[in-house]
């Protein structure tokens, strides 16, 4: 089985933590430093969804460019394709302002789609670690992605 591959890293700032949470997860410990100090976290922490969404941004940006493929090829329109779902998403440790997360993906299984020619189905384990190596988030993802245009990849 392939090893986990690093796909990017991101430093979480207080401003970014509060911006994401202000839009999507405005619990006190994500948006209000004073409320956060008195919460079980003892300080401001990023929304778990912020961490997962940042993982996805890294995953898409790390995907090999299909820039010289036809513009309407599925690998250009949707390079990593569509997700069916995720299992076992764990928020294992708080992410605080100043933490730099390193994002990983690991292919557990890949096979040609039975119903959609030119597409493959992937089962992955994805994760984020702090720079000190502590894994803060992990989940398994099932998705289908287009194969590269002929003559590529």
């Amino acid at each position: 089985m392939p090893e986990p591959v690093e796909i990017g890293r991101l430093t979480f700032t207080e401003a970014e933590i509060r911006r994401f949470a202000g839009a999507f997860d405005p619990q006190g410990f994500h948006v209000d430093p004073e409320a956060a100090r008195q919460s079980p976290f003892g300080g401001l922490v990023a929304s778990g969804w912020h961490v997962v969404c940042a993982w996805m941004g890294a995953f898409v940006r790390a995907h090999p460019s299909a820039a010289d493929s036809p513009v309407d090829h599925p690998s250009v329109i949707a390079p990593v394709g569509v997700g069916f779902g995720l299992q076992g998403l764990e928020w294992k440790a708080p992410v605080r302002a100043g933490d730099t997360l390193v994002f990983f993906t690991q292919v557990l299984e890949a096979r040609a789609s039975g119903s959609r020619p030119g597409w493959s189905v992937f089962h992955r384990r994805n994760s984020a670690r702090r720079e000190d190596g502590v894994e803060v988030m992990a989940f398994e993802l099932r998705h289908m992605a287009p194969d590269p245009a002929p003559g590529r990849g």
Partner: protein, 154 residues
């Protein structure tokens, strides 16, 4: 003082909350940052995509559902964070103009011997479109403070 504690979540209860009408601008703005596939950032690419039209990133749908969870009840609840999501399925595309609501089912509730100040509630959250199609179905655990920490429950 929160309105809702662990004891207020009754297994089997089903409730609907809130409503959010998603716009094309929101879909594109979110996707540029967190899921920059042309399928989600460009209407023409979306139309040619396997989803058959511009649609929100699945992660955007999850984020909107989280906001409906917050506004629906969690901001008034003694919430102490979440250890994770057991399962999340993306069942139908979310498109510009869709009116999204949250359906919450309490699946399980249990107290903790090691942490008597809280209980762990397992919810099924569904993001439901106006035509009753379920776009996202998720099983999520949330740690919730107890009204009377340590009290024995039958």
């Amino acid at each position: 003082m929160p309105d809702f504690f662990y004891e207020d979540f009754v297994v089997g209860e089903v409730k609907a909350f809130g409503s959010h009408t998603i716009t094309e601008e929101e879909i594109v703005t979110f996707a540029r940052e967190f899921d920059p596939q042309p399928m989600h950032t460009d209407a023409a690419a979306g139309a040619k995509s396997v989803l058959g039209g511009l649609s929100a990133s699945g992660w955007h749908s999850c984020a909107i559902m989280m906001r409906l969870i917050c506004d629906g009840f969690l901001l008034r609840t003694a919430g102490m964070g979440s250890p994770g999501v057991t399962e999340n399925s993306w069942l139908a595309p979310v498109r510009p103009g869709d009116v999204l609501t949250l359906r919450r089912t309490v699946l399980e509730a249990r107290t903790s011997k090691s942490r008597p100040e809280m209980g762990l509630v397992t919810f099924k959250f569904e993001l439901v479109k106006a035509d009753k199609t379920v776009a996202v179905s998720q099983t999520c655990l949330i740690m919730i403070g107890r009204r009377n920490p340590g009290a024995r429950l039958a």
